[in-house]
Amino acid sequence: MANRTVIPFGPQHPVLPEPIHLDLVIEDEHVVEAIPSFGFIHRGLEKLAEKRDFTEFTFVAERICGICSYIHGMGYCQAIESVMGLEIPERAKWLRTMWAELSRMHSHMMWLGLLGDAFGFENLFMAFWRVREGLLDIIEETSGGRVIFGAAKVGGIRRDVPDDLLARIPAQLAKIEAEMRPITDVFRDDFSVRQRLCGVGVLSQKDAYDLGAVGPVLRGSGVAVDTRLEGYAAYDRVQVEPIVESDGDCWARAMVRIREVYQSFEILKQVLPNVPAGPVDMKVTGAPNGEFFARLEQPRGEVIYYVKGSGKKQLDRFRVRTPTFANIPPLLKMLQGCQLADVPVIVLTIDPCISCAER
């Protein structure tokens, strides 16, 4: 019988920009079991909601994470609006959809670069991040921020986007899409990329569903679940189909994200010409009295915002269930039986955001 060894992975590791720790139980070169631990940077943001005014808290919600910051702010506002029965202006709904898709694209492109970096393909890393700069420029032009958009607001959006700017964005996106094609072709066709990703970290369809996987991890295992189909913001008026791959390996999860970037280009082609004229916010009076669970699709998967208020300016409870947190049990399953050398790549394919999980 082979000797068992426990190898600590993290909290500091080259593929982990944020701290998470895994104890890897190894037999020869194979992982038998992985035991995670968290809490190195737990910030207690949910507790902070008990002190802050519910409208001010939008700024905190946007800072749960630096990559999916906009959707955090938007989801929080959506939950509050549902409790208060607010129907926000149409223009705000369409602009929220635009920013949510720009968010998804820049998050996926960042991740694709990081994945290239993780298996030693530095050129892919630089190419994806160079193209992603064009998206960040659009985000900066429309919202004023490159990382934290600062555009979410209970009752609408904080800042309108001029129509002439909206009219210019399709040409900018077309340029970015053209620049992206050859890079994703390399990703799809390169022998070394396939060797590092195909058949690695397989998660079956049943395990993905039973273990509560979300987002590209779930869809990469063949389960067609995408919360955008529920039609929040303006998603009920654009065509969205869940992007699904069936192999359940690292390659499938990467392909889901690549295809979702192109899907976002298509969604933006539907959104940008159809943004209606009109106000972008509404007057909000009173305070939330009731509870609601809002579900949205972040780049990393389904996210849940729970708010409960009792008619005061401060909430009784605010909770976020982030996609990374939901993807931890599936990750442990993927790691079972893998080679030690594949652990960093497998961990990266859930697109771990510890900042989100440690809200």
């Binding site: 968290f38 509560g212 529920e230 039609g231 609601f292 579900r295 729970y306 939901a326 049990p329």
Partner: protein, 131 residues
Amino acid sequence: MNAPVQRYVEVQPDALLEAVRAQQLTGSRLVQICCTKLAGFELTYSFARAGAFDHVRVQIPDNTVKVPSISPIYSCSFAYENEIHDLFGLSFLGLNIDYKGTFYKTTIPAPMVGTPVCGAPAPKDKGAHGE
């Protein structure tokens, strides 16, 4: 919006596992478990399947009551239950992976309960030796 209507089912603690098993039999996946500190503790278990988003709710009077773990039914619940243990101080019976309070590394035990929030007046510092 095509979002399903959210349904809440309130159950007693001893009927929790039965209610959760009923969700599993309908093919629902566990979406999340949320704990809210009110007079006691309110636990909300959320489940989703195509066209449905249901919540099973249970009231726990205080943290001396042990809550039955749903990990024998949904094994992924260990993450939520360990989180609730570490942040709220609730204990779960029959947890499949029990971190025994080491899942989150917080300086204060059960920080979501009875702890002043950031910015509230801090108790007077008496120094390291209580002087």
